[in-house]
């Protein structure tokens, strides 16, 4: 290259191309995204977080929680599962057939063929879609995270490091506000050997007044304040917990389908 202009043109072409690809194109593709429909349901997703939870996201941002926690569940694939919903008129034949078949961890073709065989002897079956992957088998979520999960968040706190567990579905997995408050104040009081730093600065230790505060933490003795004192969460702690409880990525979507487990209908008789 002979002169400065040609260098600038080279750099302009290279960077301009990636700018179009990774800035302009995603903005066009996702910038006007709206709520999407939940599969097999009339609901739309996501819903706006509550006021406290929206403020809690700012507490999450200010304290750099994303330095150690991700909010994105990974999925490596999907498997099919054939579930019997009714034995039909010939229960013995169905049960004999089922004992010879593999019904979980199937591909689509295997699931269809098992489905056909059981239907042929009169059984009624449902085919369930089960996401697979380390995160899902660990119980961190039920399906992979998709763009729709973050529609109303700003800043989007995806995170890139898992010094602690993933939080994309924390509100479903850990749905107890007092547990979260205890965990923030003294992580080791609820998770033994936790390496999470305590966030005591989100709480206030104060003298008990006329009556103990209803908000006061019920701490195990080794973490409790001295007698006559109580630990109460500051508004920031309450907002942060509201945000953590609002983290749900647990509805089936077109781009991340799965069959929700229905606890009530299919439980075996006792």
């Amino acid at each position: 290259m002979k002169n400065g202009i040609s260098v600038f043109i080279a750099a302009f072409i290279a960077l301009g191309a990636s700018w179009c690809g990774f800035v302009l194109a995603p903005a066009l593709q996702l910038g006007t995204a709206k709520q999407t429909a939940v599969l097999n349901s009339g609901d739309t997703y996501p819903v706006q977080r509550t006021g406290d939870a929206t403020l809690g996201l700012q507490v999450y941002r200010a304290n750099g929680c994303a330095a150690c926690h991700t909010e994105q569940i990974q999925q490596t694939g999907i498997a099919f599962e054939v579930v019997l919903t009714g034995a039909g008129k010939n229960p013995d034949a169905v049960s004999n057939l089922i004992s010879t078949l593999k019904l979980t961890g199937l591909t689509k073709e295997e699931a269809d063929s098992a489905n056909d065989k059981i239907t042929a002897v009169g059984g009624k079956v449902e085919t369930h879609l089960i996401p697979t992957g380390a995160d899902i088998s660990r119980g961190w979520g039920v399906r992979r995270s998709v763009a729709a999960d973050y529609l109303y968040d700003s800043p989007v706190q995806l995170g890139s490091l898992r010094a602690g567990p993933d939080l994309a579905d924390a509100g479903t997995r850990l749905n107890n506000a007092s547990w979260h408050l205890l965990h923030l104040y003294a992580p080791q009081s609820v998770v033994k050997n936790s390496a999470m730093p305590p966030f005591r600065f989100l709480f206030e230790t104060r003298k008990i007044g006329d009556a103990p505060s209803p908000d006061a933490l019920n701490l195990p003795s080794e973490f409790a304040p001295p007698a006559g004192y109580e630990v109460v969460p500051k508004p920031e702690a309450k907002q942060l917990v509201a945000y953590l409880l609002s983290l749900h990525a647990d509805v089936p979507l077109y781009e991340a389908p799965y069959t929700p487990v229905q606890i009530s209908t299919n439980a075996p008789a006792k």
Binding site: G4, A10, A62, S194, F199
Partner: protein, 465 residues
């Protein structure tokens, strides 16, 4: 070119470069100190439980930004100005502008670091500085770029050197990516949803990988032939490396499995694997230029730049590895990513810039370094520190991925990384000592000459009629 005008060129850079380097040396110490503070959390989690300012989530991003924005970029801008003046064989044009810019830049970094520590970070990796400080940084960069381009325009020799391509591209790169990222995700009306994350990744990759590579390699390709006493082997390879680096490098950075449309990570994976092409070209250039040169580095700037080039190749290979579909399943979300970033920032870039500063500082000041032995000592501190830091984080990251993100298995590695940071901190103190004592000596000499001029007796001949 005679020595006198060479001296004049160097002297024209003196004040602007001191303004840039002085603040940079301070930020390197502050950044590494914050990094040590952050890593203390791995030894004793409740250390800063009552002190939000120094808690991990505040200190860690502040440390990263202090090192990158506080040290790497301003120090590199100083080196860049000197290289432009030297290659153009002309005195620095508009020397006042970079002096003003250096002060604006360091003020911006100061505001940004304080904001992160008090919880005013924006929450985007490498873009944590709030709006006000980003505006200052952007303006300061443009001011330095004006002086650099004006100096470039005054060049006597019209032919361009390989360093010119890399450094000129970097001058365009930073304002573009920094303005885009700040306008679209930090401004009052950010884009919605995961587009924020995509732009954040695009920016981080273009800054940490592409920009640092452009400037670091541009500097290395200037100093390596100079110190080895033989021409760059060869310009054609360098041209090829330049084109492939900017064409492929700029598309990396979107992690696999990210919750975004699948074509984005797919494109990034392809680009990352193609990065092997510029890496091979750069390896060939460095090896052919360095080997066969009859120069012993003895812990001097030549050593710094050789080590930095090797670290660049390794960090590039780590980047490619973490984009490989199979390997990325293991190392995603582990300390392997930070290990690669630290190797790129400290192992490659910071060490090359430190070597360059040690080489050019005695020339622009026109006197020797106050502590020449520190140069060799710092080289050892940095090498040990980087091997301990990046090595333990990388191995710890793989271990963490294999053990399902169980932090207990990683903690010993994280604790080892603190040792690496301490070595780096020691090295940065030596660097700061050299720069500050040098500045002090120069200021004292300046004051002395002023006093001498004021108190000098009037010549008798002027009094008499």
């Amino acid at each position: 070119m005679n020595d006198l005008s060479q001296q004049k060129i160097d002297a024209s850079c003196r004040v602007p470069l001191l303004a840039l380097f002085g603040g940079a040396a301070l930020w390197l110490v502050v950044g590494l100190l914050l990094a040590v503070i952050a890593s203390l959390t791995f030894h004793k989690p409740d250390m800063f439980a009552d002190c939000p300012v120094l808690s991990y989530g505040h200190a860690q991003p502040a440390a990263n930004d202090a090192i990158l924005y506080g040290f790497c970029i301003p120090a590199a801008l100083g080196v860049m100005l000197w290289i432009f003046a030297r290659l153009s064989q002309t005195e620095l044009v508009l020397p006042l502008v970079p002096i003003v810019a250096a002060n604006i830049w360091h003020l911006g970094v100061f505001i940004g670091i304080v904001a992160i520590l008090i919880g005013d970070s924006t929450g985007f990796a490498w873009l944590e500085f709030p709006r006000g400080s980003s505006v200052l940084l952007f303006a300061a960069f443009l001011l330095v770029a004006i002086s650099a381009v004006a100096t470039f325009g005054q060049r006597k020799e019209r032919e361009l050197y390989p360093s010119h391509w890399f450094l000129l591209a970097a001058l365009l790169w930073f304002p573009w990516i920094y303005a885009t990222a700040n306008l679209l995700i930090v401004s009052g009306h950010p884009v919605r949803g995961v587009t924020q994350a995509v732009i954040g990744w695009w920016f981080a990759n273009n800054l940490i990988f592409v920009w640092l590579s452009l400037v670091g390699l541009g500097t290395a390709f200037y100093f390596l032939p100079k110190l080895a006493g033989r021409p760059l082997q060869s310009s054609y390879f360098a041209l090829f490396a330049f084109w492939t680096l900017i064409l492929f490098g700029t598309w990396c950075g979107i992690p696999q499995g990210a919750p975004v449309p699948a074509w984005l990570p797919a494109l990034s994976t392809v680009a990352s694997s193609l990065l092997i092409v510029p890496l091979i070209a750069i390896a060939v250039i460095v090896v052919k230029t360095v080997c066969g040169a009859d120069v012993h580095c003895k812990g001097g700037p030549f050593c710094y730049i050789k080590f930095g080039s090797a670290a660049f190749l390794l960090s590039g290979l780590m980047l490619i590895a973490s984009a490989c579909p199979h390997f990325s399943r293991i190392v995603q979300f582990t300390w392997f990513g930070p290990a690669q970033e630290q190797l790129q920032i400290l192992g490659f870039f910071a060490i090359i810039i430190c070597g360059a500063v040690y080489e050019l500082l005695p020339r622009i000041m026109d006197f020797e370094l106050p502590f020449p032995k520190f140069v060799r000592f710092q080289h050892w501190c940095f090498m040990l520190g980087i091997v301990l830091l990046a090595g333990s984080l990388a191995i710890g990251g793989i271990e963490q991925g294999l053990k399902n993100y169980d932090l207990a298995t990683t903690l010993p590695f994280l604790r080892a990384s603190t040792t690496g940071l301490l070595f780096l901190l020691l090295g940065s103190l030596l660097f700061a000592a050299n720069i500050f004592v040098m500045t002090l000596k120069w200021k004292l000499a300046l004051i002395k000459s002023v006093i001498a001029a004021v108190t000098a007796p009037l010549e008798v001949s002027e009094v008499k009629p």
